[in-house]
């Protein structure tokens, strides 16, 4: 569904992305992990056509993303940036409706889609409330609902759990998992490796702009990769819910 071929992105001091090659199919939650400056946000922004790569291309279902008109791109993908602060104190329903501004829908279809996503994100009770009256977790759900309402094939989220407490982090990830189960490809930048390992079907590990590994969490978060990409080691254990990591600094070498 998503195909990235030899993608490179120039930077000021060093390339932000270097020959990234990736194939991802629909119906999964994929975590984009790596240290700060690894290129995670840059990769999302290139996929969303917010940045122009210096080489390579991104295809969705075989079509080059940059060849699509802005309206067509908006139908197939949605982007949720890391820090989104709505400027005006509008209602939740009005915020979510912004995600449908360029969708040619009848009034009834629009209402149905709004209702559906507000229910899925547990926002129905909050629909008529101004954003300033919401908690951080509720506001993040509203922003996510805005991204989801257009039913995009590809959902790009840049650290959707940033600045949320653990309860809201889990709620957000469960929501993203549900979207993936409904056939979307959900690609998320994440810092928390334990949550990424527990909720994501696949992980993509970036290091200094290069793709280090892609695959199941247990494969990606090997001792060697953790040491290379993060400069840590980890103990891990597995339970019925999945895998969890307990990170530790690498032992000092003489």
């Amino acid at each position: 569904m998503l195909s990235i071929q030899q993608l490179s992105l120039a930077g000021i001091r060093r390339p932000r992305l270097q020959q990234v090659q990736l194939q991802l199919s629909a119906g999964q939650l994929v975590g984009l992990v790596g240290a700060n400056g690894a290129g995670k946000s840059s990769l999302l922004q290139v996929i969303a056509a917010l940045l122009t790569p210096s080489a390579g291309e991104v295809r969705i279902d075989g079509t080059v993303v940059t060849s699509l008109a802005p309206e067509q791109r908006a139908q197939v993908m949605a982007y949720l940036p890391q820090y989104e602060q709505p400027q005006w104190d509008i209602k939740v329903r009005e915020l979510v409706d912004i995600g449908l501004l360029h969708h040619r829908l009848s009034r009834r279809q629009r209402q149905l889609q709004l209702q559906h996503v507000l229910t899925a994100c547990d926002l129905l009770q909050l629909a008529e409330r101004p954003l300033s009256t919401l908690s951080g977790g509720e506001r993040q759900r509203a922003l996510l609902a805005r991204a989801m309402v257009g039913q995009p094939k590809l959902l790009l989220c840049d650290e959707p759990t940033a600045a949320l407490d653990i309860q809201h982090q889990l709620q957000t990830l469960q929501l993203l998992q549900q979207q993936a189960r409904q056939g979307q490809l959900v690609l998320c930048c994440m810092h928390d490796l334990s949550l990424a390992a527990r909720y994501c079907d696949q992980l993509v590990l970036l290091h200094e702009g290069r793709l280090l590994e892609v695959g199941a969490p247990a494969t990606v978060l090997s001792d060697a990769h953790l040491a290379t990409a993060f400069g840590i080691q980890a103990q891990w254990y597995c339970d019925s819910s999945g895998v969890a990591w307990i990170p530790q600094p690498l032992p000092a070498t003489d």
């Binding site: 056509a49 802005p70 709505p86 400027q87 509008i90 915020l95 912004i98 501004l101 360029h102």
Partner: protein, 325 residues
């Protein structure tokens, strides 16, 4: 009791009708509206009616321009005067008029003023750099406004017309005195075109509730639509400047007045700012003529005297309650 946007719109219209009655009856001469004699008819048709309509139209134009700019720049402090549009429009108008290159009511005058306003915007955008950061835009706008204001003073000082410099205050502080149907004729096409442009770009202004980065992924042709908004602002402001000079604060206050009434959605702020601006300017013009003695005060002085404390009060009220924890 919650008042809907439509309710506020009707209330604004009702207030405008009441204030209009007061405004139309202001003046040295007493007018019997039910039985106008020849003199009273001339006073009404040649002085009071054009002034009243000019106030309403200017208020609408400035209200719309201010709201559009605040929504586009995502900043409630944005105002056409702040980003050089008004000053550059006035500079071009003054240069063409006082050096005799255009007649006072030529159709080319508003076009030239639009060009001046757009030139000011372009200058601000160039100075602000590629990122178009709001703080850079406002800083650049202040620089351009100051430059244009000084240049305007110099132009008037050097103009062949020996009385030109005395009219400097009319251009920089605005004036509704001695205005005629011809002045309205300069403004109305600008009001119509500006409104149509804002109608075309209204969904972008709603989407800009979110960051520009997000809006770029929502299917908008960001550059062309944003330029459409800027053109609309330039046209609306140019029409106002050409007809009455620079009147500050109305573009800043009208959207705030709408938000103070609990209307935060960009569409409601945008369209309700038109009647709100008309109301504000009506009230200011009434106050101007109550205060003025033999020589009429420029309305811009009253606008600043009323607007600045109101702005402080609005800022205090609005930012006292934090939007985000």
């Amino acid at each position: 009791m919650t008042v809907t946007a439509r309710g506020w719109g009707w209330l604004f219209i009702l207030l405008a009708v009441i204030l209009s009655g007061w405004h139309l009856n202001q003046g040295a001469a007493t007018v019997n509206w039910l039985d106008l004699n020849d003199l009273q008819y001339t006073i009404v048709m040649d002085i009071r009616l054009p002034r009243w309509l000019l106030v309403l139209a200017n208020g609408m134009a400035l209200g719309l321009a201010g709201a559009a700019l605040q929504l586009l720049l995502r900043n409630p402090l944005a105002e056409p005067g702040l980003i050089g549009v008004s000053s550059m429009s006035a500079l071009v108008t003054v240069t063409l008029l006082y050096f005799g290159w255009l007649a006072a009511f030529s159709w080319w005058l508003p076009l030239a003023a639009v060009a001046g306003g757009l030139a000011g915007l372009l200058l601000v955008v160039l100075l602000a750099g590629r990122q178009h950061d709001i703080y850079r835009i406002i800083l650049a706008g202040v620089a351009v406004s100051s430059l244009a204001g000084s240049a305007m003073g110099l132009i008037l000082y050097l103009a062949p017309n020996p009385f030109a410099f005395q009219e400097w205050s009319q251009w920089t502080l605005g004036s509704l005195a001695n205005r005629s149907w011809s002045h309205l004729g300069l403004l109305l096409p600008c009001l119509l075109i500006g409104t149509l442009l804002l109608w075309w770009t209204r969904t972008l202004l709603t989407a800009l509730t979110l960051s520009e980065q997000t809006v770029a992924t929502l299917g908008f042709r960001l550059v062309s639509q944003r330029n459409g908004v800027l053109l609309a602002v330039a046209v609306l402001v140019a029409g106002s400047v050409v007809s009455v000079g620079i009147i500050g604060f109305v573009g800043l206050l009208a959207p705030h007045l709408v938000r103070l009434l609990g209307q935060e959605h960009p569409q409601r702020v945008l369209w309700l700012s038109a009647p709100a601006g008309a109301l504000l300017l009506l009230a200011m013009d009434i106050a101007t003529r109550l205060i003025s003695g033999a020589r009429e005060l420029p309305i811009g002085i009253v606008a600043a005297l009323v607007g600045a404390p109101l702005l402080v009060a609005l800022l205090f009220h609005r930012y006292q309650r934090r939007f985000y924890e």
